[in-house]
Assembly symmetry: C2
């Protein structure tokens, strides 16, 4: 292999001209930086003719073990190190797991253009504005069906139905190859806005010959078909007319059609609507301004104005469907919202499914709302939510339409990717043409199909407070250790001339509980260790600390079966 950094030829060449040599060759390379083996932070690099485009730049939300972390980003050093920068970022849709890392990408890499459909771009603009990044790249609106030229790439946006309007797949041509990158999609034949997944165009692409499909795997394990978004509206039509109290509907802040349906049914039954939660208000404003949401004048009210209405005249749309601690629904549930409260006779519809890991928080909110007297309807007990992702039969349909020569499952945990691979095999794609890649895999697409030829570093970057990337795994490991049994600090003082302890060691414990006798025993043990070491002429601070750490740690474990973090502090005075 060529020894130069970022040159991924399978065979070494004597005259590898420069670090970007590889991408100047005639091959098309695809490098997922995120979204494989996980749900979230979708981001894929396409390289051809020495240029790079990036499809999506998403973030992930932290898991329990990411203690104190606010956001998780794909590692972007591959792009920030690139002298030539990025020709364009092309966005499939405006969900956070596809666009949330864009502000961070724009800060670390030179990006010429950002492309997206009308609504995607509208939502992105607002995000970049908040980050003070409106001038960091040229923002360009893509028309569905009109290909754009990005250096060696020709990219066409193809309409796909999903749980946010104006979503698109990308047909990417470069180096004589045609790749279809589906983005997130479902096969909703009766979407709210009439904008169906464009099966006709997908079939045309299939007829032309698709060399590789990168396909959404989220629901690949689930049999059958995801119900249409319309089904939720039908549930609202059953639920709303029977209710005499307030109706609250919480959903994802970007689910414009969900909001539209709830508003339509509410208006039909004489209710006014207030939108509560910053992100949902912002998204609704943008969607209305761009024509993606229709609400008659006089329907929307400010949350403060709700007081003037009877409960039966109110529909409250709110954020917090994931039980997020500071969100509108959580604050309402804990009776901590300035404008909205819930009482007996009210109905709360949680029109979303908890993302794995959020279940307990959502359940807590439901319990609080039930305690306040509300009836709470959620997806486990009523048809008030449908997925935005196609199930197995829909994935099969897309494979049948595109008839790709090769398939690379993306967007999902390994089990989902594996299920998608099985669907492709069932459809007749040879196993050798199915690529189960990982984040950082360098996939080269040539006339003989796609092959993983190398891998690059594609880890994670944590955002914690104002810091991006400074919190590393070692800090998280320490936080985990601290979280389990707390910390025990041993403070010992030594006189420097003779190295004699000037007083007995002191102990400070936080998050660790020990009986008084144990604390006393520990102090004695610490004093004994120091005396013994000093008597043996061991006076190097580091060694003293190590011995103190081990002896005290063992004593504590023997007595309590706990392992607090032991921090010996030795002060020479």
């Amino acid at each position: 292999m060529c020894g130069r950094q970022r040159c991924f030829r399978e065979t070494a060449r004597a005259s590898c001209p420069d670090p970007t040599y590889a991408s100047k060759s005639m091959s098309l390379r695809i490098i997922p930086l995120g979204g494989l083996g996980e749900v979230g932070k979708n981001m894929t690099v396409y390289e051809a003719g020495g240029e790079v485009i990036v499809v999506d730049a998403g973030l992930a939300f932290p898991r329990d073990e990411h203690l104190g972390v606010d956001l998780v980003l794909p590692e972007m050093t591959y792009l920030s190190d690139r002298p030539g920068g990025v020709r364009a970022v092309v966005l499939t849709h405006a969900h956070e797991d596809h666009v949330g890392a864009l502000p961070y990408l724009l800060r670390v890499a030179k990006v010429r253009e950002v492309w997206g459909t009308r609504l995607t771009l509208g939502l992105i603009k607002s995000k970049l504005d908040e980050h003070g990044l409106m001038r960091a790249a040229e923002l360009r609106e893509a028309d569905i069906g009109t290909p754009i030229e990005l250096g060696p790439f020709r990219v066409e946006f193809v309409r796909m139905a999903h749980s946010i309007p104006d979503s698109a797949a990308l047909a990417i041509e470069a180096e004589g190859k045609l790749v279809v990158h589906t983005g997130d999609y479902k096969l909703d034949h009766t979407p709210i806005d009439g904008q169906k997944t464009d099966v006709g165009r997908l079939a045309e692409l299939g007829n032309r010959g698709v060399d590789l499909m990168l396909g959404d795997s989220t629901n690949a394990e689930r049999p059958g078909v995801t119900p249409s978004e319309r089904v939720v509206g039908e549930a609202f039509r059953q639920i709303f007319p029977l209710r005499t109290g307030r109706i609250l509907v919480s959903s994802f802040a970007s689910n414009v059609h969900r909001m539209q349906q709830a508003i339509d049914v509410a208006v039909d039954h004489g209710r006014k609507v207030a939108i509560v939660g910053r992100s949902m208000r912002k998204n609704a404003n943008i969607a209305r301004n761009l024509g993606f949401m229709e609400v008659s004048d006089g329907v929307l009210m400010k949350p403060e104005e709700l007081r003037e209405l009877l409960p039966g005249q109110q529909l409250i749309l709110c954020t917090g469907s994931q039980g997020e601690p500071m969100s509108a629904m959580t604050r309402i549930a804990y009776n901590d919202h300035p404008a909205v409260s819930v009482e007996r006779g009210d109905t709360v519809v949680i029109s979303a499914k908890p993302v794995p890991g959020n279940e307990l928080r959502v359940h807590d909110a439901i319990n609080r709302l039930a305690q306040a007297g509300a009836e709470v309807l959620h997806q486990e007990i009523a048809p008030v939510h449908v997925s935005g992702h196609g199930n197995a039969e829909e994935l099969r349909t897309i494979i049948s339409l595109l008839r790709p020569k090769a398939v690379m499952p993306v967007h999902g945990e390994f089990r989902m990717l594996a299920a998608h691979a099985q669907l492709a095999r069932d459809a007749g794609v040879p196993s050798s043409e199915i690529v189960l890649a990982e984040n950082g895999s360098v996939v080269e697409l040539t006339d003989t199909g796609p092959r993983i030829v190398d891998e690059i570093q594609a880890g994670v970057t944590y955002v914690d407070g104002l810091g991006v990337g400074d919190v590393q795994d070692v800090a998280l490991r320490d936080r985990r250790h601290l979280s389990k049994d707390g910390v025990l600090i041993i403070v010992a003082t030594l006189a420097p001339e003779d190295g004699v302890p000037t007083s007995r060691p002191e102990l400070i414990a936080r998050g660790f509980t020990g009986a008084d006798e144990l604390i006393e025993e520990t102090r004695q043990e610490a004093a004994r260790v120091i005396d013994e070491l000093l008597a043996g002429d061991v006076s190097e601070i580091k060694l003293l600390q190590e011995h103190l750490h081990d002896a005290v740690g063992q004593l504590i474990y023997d007595r309590t079966r706990r392992r607090p973090m032991i921090l010996p502090v030795i002060v020479e005075v």
Copy 2:
């Protein structure tokens, strides 16, 4: 109210004779110590004629916020403080959330007898043996249908179907009242062992007149009926014959019928069976010895003996269906089990549903197994699990059979209790006769129905390592704080005579990350604060620490938006 501790009369009496006065009165009192407003640690006190029986003594598993805690128990001070002790503990079935706290109860309270059906008692004996508590109380086997006399109480065990054999409801008579405490149940009309919920006996009780029902609310929100346990066996009959590799089935270690069904199907298709996981082996042994499980000789093998068989000749039953870190399935998934590994062509059936909060761990295990090449079937995508709890229609049926004058929903989060209450209202029970109690509510049952007349302290007790009850909320709060942004220790030394700093403050950080400049700035700030205070003649250590804490905390927050725990250590030398 009577001022004496634990006297719960609504009106004070001049001559309240002693602390157990209340329970010597003619009323029947019911005090849930756990299981209300939560799933887990079910435990209910019944008081009559100066005596006490306790129905179930369960534990709960810690939630995320219970950092480092191993188990959660009901607070039992109400029982341990009781001079007369406990007449009997009566167990409905042997699940951990109904019996797991028994060893701890026997350590803190004087208990005369422990009653349970044959299998319940068999499983309990093994648990008490491990805790060295075999002589702590008299263990007595109850016969279904033969009432036992426990002082003023007469208790009859009534057969109920559930996900562990030999489960029972309790018909409790005292003070002329009849209470039915359902325990956990479903209305399985085709259970594996033929031991159906005894609807005939329940109807007889209903005809006699039930004054109060305490009913399982776990699935009260779910519409319809829970499928029979037999459905899982039918799924096994579909799945097993098609598989040529190893088959692993993970389930709860106590789900004897699940094991039985998997074994039966496996044997029919020429497989041998190994049980992997200590608790499952133990339970299977006890169940076989007591006649609750039938396995022919020569079917069971040791895990080490599997090597002698082809993959297609193996069925492995294992623990770990909740993704528990040290369980058999998790170790197999991470290729860390001494006897069992999984390869391409194998099938893993996760025959359980993740308890809320365990979803991510289970998903991690599924992904690992899929990466090893196994096909993983779980309840989201195949009918390989059914609940042990009845859904709404089953709860309605039980209410119709018992026709209770009053209903007190138990076993569940508030939303489940509220849904159960609604089912009771739908069935015609007046709202005034439906008791939505909390842990610690003192419910008095008189001729005018049940009323909450007082409440006692009924909190939680944490088990952490060897400690029971010594970890309190303050330690958990500290652990949470430490877990978020780590700890920053500031060590400053002062000369005692003049109070002059003897050197610059030192910083020790764990789990907190700051740039070098920030660390330097923080040291300077700490030095400045000390100098300023000393110059102002403030030299009291406590004050110095407080000021250091606040100034450094603010600086760190301003620069990083993080709040590590700040621990100032001031050493006078």
